[in-house]
Point group: C2
Chain length 266, copies 2
């Protein structure tokens, strides 16, 4: 009898707090014999992986992590490769398929692979600051480790031109701060200085910190920037309503929203 | 003694299958006395709302739904306004804040409002078709009910220009099909006819149907288009790998992905 077919779950655990993990994510982790992930993410699920074979990695070893997970599955194990947010958004699923493609893997004959979607930073940050994503939006990562900066900056320009609300992943690190300045300068060519900008650090974690500022002032908060920060830049319709970032979708022009005569004008 | 302060949960239940709902979403629904939502979404959670006060609405009455939910909370009730996907992405939270703003609501003194993020169509569709969102992406809704078409088409042009992978919400309905044709024509000015395009209908529902086609052929499947369809248009780097839509993030140029000599070239 041949070796049993292994399975690789690529699991998004959401913003870090168990509450915002999906039932499928938890089930997949519980069904796995082997758990592999970046140390910080593995720590977030400590209580549901007791007794399992667990491999914790430092941050920069994504290729090793993905290879090890694939090899365990090839050897018949059920494996969960865990990451925060959604593995389908700038996440580990891409690297997994890049490696599998090099190995000439086939989804019908090779190991089973299941990508389990989760609540990504764009979902969690939007929920925490108001309603910024009621209109079309662009999502851009400022990390130029794997993508040349001239491509990223071209995308920022297109987002500014198209009046997209823009969600910025990996806005800055200690060694990398010019990108956010360049980005701000491009947006200032197209949008008013007082355009609302949200900076969210550690969404749904104990360290959560939220700041609503404006395009011209957004660089004034270096302590808010880092690996777990997401920035949302409003478009021409975005406004700050009592500390929240709001994007109307046009209901007001089409419907009478409140019937009471005591209503205060919007 | 004054009336007890009510609470309004605006809950995203994910793509429809309980598995991809978050723990927080389920908990909020269970903690609520009143459940309000579009009939189809309420049906998806029938088993966890037994014994509650439930209001089901037809599709087009969003303003009534939101007003009723707010009024119950103003009267001291704990209410869940449920919707599929994520209420923060083209969802009900925007309308809720638009109405509350008209009523001069304040987040510190008024009813409590909690937006509970969920797995939106972009998250679920990406997970089902491969790894299309490893690079920067734009999200555009084709619905011109509340947003003028000339604004939408300007955004499509910017997304095409910026080489964004593009996620299209509400691509077409029976009465509205020209938008997707116009969109395809704009992308064809910037991208190759064989650019991969994914059409996903009813992600994670029993009726789920997935098709990977190309930019030049994407209009040939009218039976796949409708209210629960999402379309993802690849960018210049996207490729079809054995029926999956893959976007590399550049690891191959920077790292040796597979060490075995038996590896097949990517």
């Amino acid at each position: 009898m041949g070796k049993e077919k292994g399975k690789l779950n690529v699991v998004g655990i959401g913003p870090g707090h168990h509450d915002h993990m999906t039932f499928r994510a938890k089930q997949a982790i519980q069904d796995s014999e082997v758990i592999i992930g970046y140390d910080t993410y593995v720590s977030l699920i400590e209580d549901i992986i007791i007794g399992k074979e667990v491999y914790r990695y430092p941050m920069t070893q994504e290729v090793d992590r993905a290879n090890q997970a694939i090899e365990f599955a090839e050897n018949g194990k059920v494996v969960s490769l865990v990451s925060s947010g959604d593995p389908g958004i700038y996440g580990m699923i891409g690297l997994v398929y890049e490696i599998l493609a090099q190995k000439d893997w086939d989804q019908h004959n090779g190991i089973d692979v299941e990508c389990i979607p989760g609540v990504s930073s764009l979902n969690s940050c939007a929920a925490l600051i108001g309603s910024p994503l009621m209109t079309d939006f662009a999502v851009v990562s400022m990390s130029d480790l794997l993508v040349p900066w001239d491509i990223i900056i071209k995308r920022v320009e297109a987002a500014a031109l198209g009046d997209y609300v823009t969600v910025i992943y990996n806005p800055a690190s200690k060694k990398r701060i010019h990108q956010l300045r360049d980005t701000r300068d491009i947006f200032l060519k197209y949008r008013k200085p007082e355009t609302p900008v949200a900076i969210v650090k550690g969404a749904y974690r104990e360290s959560q910190s939220i700041l609503i500022t404006t395009l011209d002032k957004m660089l004034g908060y270096p302590e808010m920037l880092g690996m777990i920060t997401t920035v949302i830049v409003g478009n021409s319709s975005t406004f700050n309503f009592k500390g929240m970032m709001i994007n109307p979708r046009g209901y007001r022009s089409k419907y009478e929203l409140v019937k009471e005569t005591s209503a205060v004008p919007f």
